[in-house]
Amino acid sequence: MAEEILPGDTVAHGTVADADQREWVTLTVNGSRQSGYVDARMTLADFLRRDLGLTGTRLGCEHGSCGACTVIVDHDKAVRSCLMLAVQAQGLAVETVESLAADGQLSPLQSAFREFHAVQCGFCTSGFLMSLTARLREGPILTREQAREALSGNICRCTGYAGMVEAVVSVSRAAEGAA
């Protein structure tokens, strides 16, 4: 059941489906409304990457363990986009890593990742940033132990997590200091 396409909408193109398996989906991605037919079995990750070209969301395990594909749904839920179907995002607001640097300026968390050498290959980085961004909306991360807990849902093979721990604590402490 197609909805009306509004001016300014981006219309996604289903890529995988027999017509009878397609569903019309409308959601908000990084603040803009997106509509299109998607295959019922298409993951949210593939929808973001293939249909919307938002390739910053990456697939590391496709079974919900590594966290590389984490996006934020409805402001505060860190979600594995490999485990969520695109059709399940109907009516929801999704944020991806592409939304973090507003007006081309790195967010404090992104800047801290650079400062503390929290990135090596960077394949897992988007997922860590989104998990931490969601977590930081719940409250500050002021200790190393809190940071390690907050990071523990995602896997990085390159950095040993050390730079990320320092980065996230420094961001929260700076924000507390400024408040």
Binding site: G56, E98, R114, C121, G122, S126, C158
Partner: protein, 783 residues
Amino acid sequence: MTSPDLARASERLVGTRMRRREDERLLTGRAQFLDDLDFAGYYEAAVLRSPHAAARIRGIDTTAASAASGVVAVYTAQDLGPILHDLPPKVTHPNLNRQTRLPIATDRVRYVGEPVAVVIADTRYLAEDAAELIDVDYEPLPAVASTGQALAAGAALVHEGSESNVAVHIVQQAGDPDTALLAAPHVVTETFVVTRGGGHSMEGRAIAARFEPATGQLTVWDATQTPHYVRQMLAVLYGMTEDEIRLIAPADIGGGFGPKAQFYGEEAIIPWIAMQLGAPVKWIEDRWENFVSATMERAQTHRVQVGFDDEGHLLVLKDVFEHDQGAYCVGLQVPTITMSTLPGPYRIPHIHSELIACYTNMVPTSSLRGAGRPQAVVAMERMMDRVAERLGLEPDEVRRRNLIQPGDFPYAVGLLFRDGSPLTYDSGDYPALLDEAARRIDIAEFRVEQARARTEGRLLGLGFGMFVEGSGLGPYEGARVRLTNGGRILVLLAASPQGQGYETVYAQLAADAIGVSIDLIEVRHGDTALVPFGQGTFASRVTATAGPAVWDACRQLRGDLAAAGASMLGVPLDEVEVTGPGVRVSWAPRRALTLREIAAVTNVGRHGMSLPDDLPVAIERTAYFKPRRAVYSSGIHAVIVEVDAETGKVAVVRSVLGHDCGTMLNPLLVEGQMLGGYAHGIGNALYEEAVYGPDGQPQAASYLDYALPTALEVDRPELFHVESPSPLNPLGVKGAGEGGLIPVPAAIANAVEDALRPFGARITQLPVTPSRVIGALRGQDGA
């Protein structure tokens, strides 16, 4: 202490903790990993893999799959005849029972995950749907799932027609080890088992290809560590010249760690299919495929004997070890590295190092961060602690009495390295590493705390691990540096990075070598069209090979810029300097030329105009660096653990990691390598195990079953550096990519055994999982 060449650099960026140029695109989602690239009109591939560890293929019916929705083509071995050639092992040996892979299985499969068929379809979803419709008629056969099983009498043969499952049997000796063992006042003997683990780059393998009929050019994108090696393999397989194949390792590759330095059947097949179809084809390895088809490592069983005198001086070392080669020989680099890594930082007059590599029905093994060294260090360093225990010495003291001294270099070990040359350490300061680690740990104070903790029922233990690592291996690496027409400096590397930060560190090096501002310098890499020859990123080799090549090319380019500047400014060569934005007269800094002004004359030129004799043209330099032999990094891990005797859980209480990679070009990046390696070492020490059932079925093929360390399992260790520059390259550099990992499993196992010493419990298997700790406490040796 730095090398003279570096000290001459006018504007030192080398040695500073420069933040990475790569980070911004990676942080904002704009990075371009292979699966992010847009290949217009491409098809996607899915690979059907063997569900059996050993089986005969009686037939394959692809009829239904070929007719499935969205399917373009289905390929089996029958359709791939022209490329059904052996994939040769990287490192071999005259005695090797040479059993190599084909790109795809023909009539037999020998491990779960071996490619059997390839489906090409509009999307991966449809390709996987169709792969399920392929009907393969298998006749399952008995499988071999361990080296012990492989060597047992009457074992099933992984390769029918072989006399046994032995791939190669090699013995190396220094001195007269058998006599020395008989004469030694003390001998300790033990068997250590190290199990399989994987690389687990967060990006799996990935490949895409497009053929351009108009030019005859095949372009291949490959998330590989070794673009020139893959190009060469394809050129031989396809009967093409290297110029007809352009191999691009994308600017962003999501980790490597060794498995991406090998060549696989999928890399042979996908570009071939792209040529057949006349359309781009892409294959992305998913995580399950990564578990069952990317090469693994580590599985070895060491039977070690060490003879020593009353003071703990090592007299003789004998190690006989089984190495799990997997179903085929991808290369003998790992076990031969183990053989030569064994003696480590110690003077040992008599050595016997014996390798028995076996074929098994499991994923082939090959290099993985550490590459045979962690296992050798387990054999040696576990025994050092046993020697200390026997004599009532502290673990640092028994090591101190045996270390090669700073005045002993170059030090000939008496064995051969993997390249067949005499194993000769170039430089190092092993006592400095040991003393600093011991000072930081404060062993005397720890023993007091350990005794107090025991009275409270808490089990603390201390362990050490030391290593010497051959790095910076040959044969050579290349760099090309160009003054662009727009007035910038382009540094082109043959090797491709997977997160190491080449774009940053080689810009630092180039800026120092040339003298111009780093803002004018850009580094690109991993494209065979940029640099004609190269080898790739593996074995902690790039800093010590590409580094000197970049330095050399940039120094030559600096000479060209100075000559051009002198000619254009009309002053003698010794009166110009290359600095900041370009070239200036040293005694009249306002008489200056920018790089763009120079390039306009030297590179762009004007048709028909003549140029002065002393003006260099087409300013571009290429240099290759060919190391005489490996350089030797070294390091130490000292660790305190607490063991929960109820649950068997091991917690790292304190960790000190010392490393010597010679001159550090960027300490921030070196530390990043150490920290990442350390985390991988924690995984190997305590968590990661690629379990196989006795039938050869993988039991841990997801992250639910295979425990990769998270931030809760890994805390930042204390780091320290010792800098012993190598005399073998002009920068004094050595490799840093693996040292953070290599000593960790041995040191942690030593620490756990120290914690359990009141019970006399023995830890002989890695990883040291809770069940193994509980088993050891119950007297089941290493169970």
